[in-house]
Symmetry: C2
Subunit: 600 residues, 2 copies
């Protein structure tokens, strides 16, 4: 399947338009401000600054911000944003070495170690700069950075692929691979694809430098990629690599590599994914752990990892379209990814726990600072601030994941209010999602439509030009040949539903979550007080949904109350109560407190 | 209440006799062998050994072994054991410095730092050596070590109390305080009590050296002892201090200090104690954490901490007797403490989790080695091997916790088959505990008996000289004036019972444990396969107890089974099963596997 790029898609209203407007008005500027204050933008000048010494990954922070700006500037005429972007681009280009190399840390603080430390993110940073350059070019915003980054890519090609004179073969943090594929697609220059292919295939075949006390899977060195059978190691690194593997498999028609990607995807979604679409169960190594290990209160579920999972879904769908890929994309987007940002667009979560106990948080000061433990409130910037600009670029480019084509088939994969033209047809979607299940799809012209049926639906009702019609569903899509103007009114009935985790997920045994359409719901102290683990929901009958400042679902529940004693022979008494649930992605916007997804 | 020392008590049979025989035949020698192999005994010669470089706490390991040997030699004529003990004593005495100082690490490797590093256990080691010396003297085994340790104590008194020329005031790890009280009680020398008092009262009043990144409570420096209101910090350090505080409060009649001890005890047993009597919820700092934080799978519950809690109970009962102290002692002894040793008497647990997931264990290699994470199998020796000799000395001296007197009242606090003489009366106990609830108490002579009624009993039946008699129960004791020979047949009816944790213990919400008399039961994979978190017990009706190689209780239960999917809208199906429970203390004797205490 080919997807329709967001630049050919107009977001016309609804929830995603709200998200993008917040992003354009608030987030992009607030991320800029905090990056500027912390020295990241000044660092692009490559001048020693002992007060704000560069970090090894600052290039990538600025690059993802530039990529976000490119996506915004593709559709708005925000002169102020353009000016900020131009200044950063100018600094990077001016600081780039004659030979093409650019890195704001190594050039200034460790020039003697350029391409000597594979754990220090040099090629990762290069990858994000290349992605930014491609985005700026594709958005018609800037050509200078692309020219500069082609020179850098040529330099990398020369040193790693031709001369092989570097101290390592593959970067500790994958990213360059997927960026080189983009550069190849934009420039048509095959050497970039060859280099991506080289970095992918060489991985796991050398005994290279890693962090002490870390499993080789942390750097994805545990095995050559074609022998990978399970998702292992640092979740973001793993998924960035899988994305590139899927890209190369598709471009080169490599069936074996595509099958590896499908196997890894199956391992993730069947054994290692939170109900929120989050991945990476452990803060130790920010890593995938073992099958069915999905602790809620210590979930790592990095925002970047959920974004990477969504991108991997997109790449798999491009190899061979399956409704499941879009269902996982939807789960990750409306739950883990969106939870990464505060309601005001200023704060961000790096770690996205599925359960919060404020008492534990208050106690674990040491754990938090040392080990990136879950925190109950979003912050504006992190020392390692990869997630905020990853969110801004994702929200801005979400239009890319709505439509697709394959031969003469047209796919609607996400119900996001938008319009586009495919072939001769114009398609408009007007959707209530994620808070409602109704969507109208209007087509002008001819198209063989395939409308995805969300797995969460409680029954599909369809009217075509006002007349009820029984949908023809195959492989998770409603198929409908449209010829001439047509209006399809879809109602994917939303019933709040219990979700049960597999019996092997010991952290969720005997518990259930509540979903409302694509949304995973949670309860917070702000509505429900403390001790949310003690709440039992026996039935969702009579649950009342309401859409105010927050979407809310009020359900009948009961609380277990015990005697004062620490241990007692008396069974707890139950007290009837109304439990207010809100979407998980909206949690932690009303001060600190407890939060719960899995109930008795 | 005054307790009757174990040397005046003969263990006559039953479970504790079995434990002691195993201890005398196997454990004491196996601990010796592993301590010898690892260099601990040779280290007492204070000769540099670069292959087996001493650790700072090795003196205490040998000291606790010597104390155990003293307790054994008080009743057996084990010539071989005597020889091993004599050799160690001779080495210590020969290595002791002229001025009285002794430390196998500092004398050899850092003589320039003697009494300069408060975090390095010097006074802690001195304390254990003093305890060993007192035990050897009281057991009639040896006088040399007591003479040597008096000289050492005098040296400590001189430097810390008189000259105050040391780099610190109090030791990072309490222990010296309680040892000095014992030395005072044995020698009658008041300066040792004064020194104990000094170390207790000065604590928390100075800004002293601690470990970086550790809360001051780790070394019990967070507050002066009289201001302590909650149990904080490293659990063993805290409890060793509390024991000494209770000792001094009793000896000096200090009501305020006694009240502090009672407040700390209440905080522990009402908010911070596992159902097994374990304390210290976190491996970070081996510490008490916050109220109701009792994670099962990551429980630290160090064996030494449960022993220390039992000793604290004993000291509190000596201030003012309360049945609750003996109930907590019993809980800690029959559950957490005994779980510390393997069935064959050779292996030991340092950490005693209340839940084990083998899959998690297999994965967490890194966590285990770095952070002393729970392991599913006992080992013979640890790098820091404090627990094994602490267990051997505790099992051997358990007779001290059975009987007590207060004025003309005689107390039977634990039903352990034994006999003793108190005043003019001879008392014999013949008991089934912990596996049964019946006990016979025979008295020859006159005594005002107080027989503790265990809180777990499901009804008390009593016959006096064969005739049923309604027991007169007050404050948790059956009161009975005996004059002449009398036989009291007690039956504390044991019914398997559900226990519920307080609603604030979020890890146990919606779950229940099963107790059988004083025993907390658990299920293991060896009997029940995997996925024990999915097991629901609705009722204990029809539960069948049996006493074979293991005590077993078979109960009707059901397992929850889900579809293969990671998440599903289908509620799990239930499958009836028989769940075999065994005493928690017997877990992990049949290979690795899962273990569960709290069930749905």
């Amino acid at each position: 399947m080919q997807t329709i790029d967001f630049k050919q898609v107009t977001i016309t209203g609804g929830f995603v338009k709200y998200l993008q407007e917040r992003n354009e008005r608030v987030s992009i500027y607030n991320v800029y401000r905090r990056f500027e204050e912390t020295g990241r933008f000044r660092a692009m000048k490559c001048v020693r600054d002992d007060e704000h010494r560069s970090h090894i990954f600052w290039d990538s922070d600025v690059a993802k911000w530039l990529e976000s700006a490119a996506f915004i500037l593709a559709k708005t005429q925000d002169a102020k944003l353009k000016e900020l972007a131009d200044a950063a681009i100018a600094d990077i280009c001016a600081s780039q070495r004659e030979d093409g190399y650019f890195n704001c840390y190594f050039q200034v603080y460790e020039p003697e170690n350029i391409f000597k430390k594979r754990t220090e993110h040099e090629l990762y940073c290069a990858g994000h700069l290349i992605e930014a350059a491609v985005a700026l070019h594709e958005s018609g915003v800037d050509e200078k950075l692309l020219a500069a980054m082609r020179r850098y890519a040529d330099y990398i090609y020369d040193r790693f692929y031709v001369k092989k004179d570097t101290a390592f073969v593959t970067c500790g943090h994958p990213e360059i691979e997927l960026a080189l594929v983009k550069l190849y697609q934009t420039t048509g220059e095959k050497k970039y694809l060859d280099l991506a292919d080289f970095f992918i295939e060489e991985r796991g075949k050398h005994s290279e430098e890693g962090y002490p006390n870390m499993n080789p899977s942390y750097h994805l060195d545990h095995v050559p990629v074609r022998e990978m059978k399970t998702a292992e190691g640092h979740a973001v690194r793993a998924l960035y690599l899988y994305i590139a593997m899927a890209d190369v498999a598709r471009i080169k028609g490599d069936a074996q590599l595509a099958e590896v990607c499908r196997t890894l995807f199956a391992d993730i979604v069947n054994k290692k994914m939170y109900i929120t679409g989050g991945v990476g169960s452990s803060y130790h190594g920010e890593a995938f752990t073992f099958a069915y290990d999905l602790p809620n209160n210590t979930a790592y579920s990095e925002t970047c990892a959920a974004i990477a999972l969504a991108l991997f879904c997109d790449r798999l769908a491009k190899i061979e379209n399956r409704a499941e890929y879009h269902a996982v994309f939807e789960r990750a987007f409306y739950n883990n990814i969106l939870a990464g940002e505060s309601k005001d667009g200023k704060g961000f979560f790096y770690v996205n726990p599925l359960e919060m106990h404020e008492a534990g948080y208050d106690y674990n000061e040491w754990l938090r600072t040392k080990l990136f433990y879950p925190i109950p409130e979003r912050v504006e910037v992190f020392d390692c601030s990869c997630c905020p600009p990853n969110l801004t670029r994702t929200i801005e480019s979400i239009g890319s994941y709505i439509y697709g084509t394959e031969g003469d088939q047209v796919y609607v994969n996400q119900y996001i209010s938008s319009e586009t033209s495919i072939g001769g047809a114009k398609i408009c979607i007007d959707s209530e999602m994620p808070f409602g299940g109704r969507a109208t799809v209007r087509v002008e012209g001819q198209a063989n439509l395939n409308l995805r049926v969300p797995a969460w639906n409680g029954g599909v009702r369809m009217k075509v030009n006002g007349r009820t019609q029984q949908p023809c569903i195959a492989d998770g899509y409603i198929r409908l040949a449209c010829d001439g103007d047509i209006e399809i009114a879809l109602d994917f009935v939303i019933k709040p539903r219990f979700v049960y985790a597999n019996e092997n997920v010991w952290q969720d045994c005997g518990r259930k979550a509540v979903e409302y359409g694509p949304l995973v719901l949670c309860a917070e102290s702000a509505d429900n007080g403390k001790n949310l683990r003690d709440v039992r929901i026996r039935s969702l009958a009579g649950a009342k949904a309401a859409n105010g400042e927050y979407f809310t679902l009020d359900v009948k529940a009961e609380r277990l109350h015990t005697s004062e004693a620490l241990y007692s022979y008396e069974a707890p008494k139950t007290e009837a109560c109304t439990l207010r649930l809100i979407p998980y992605f909206q949690w932690a916007n009303r001060g600190k407190g407890d939060m719960q997804i899995w109930f008795l």
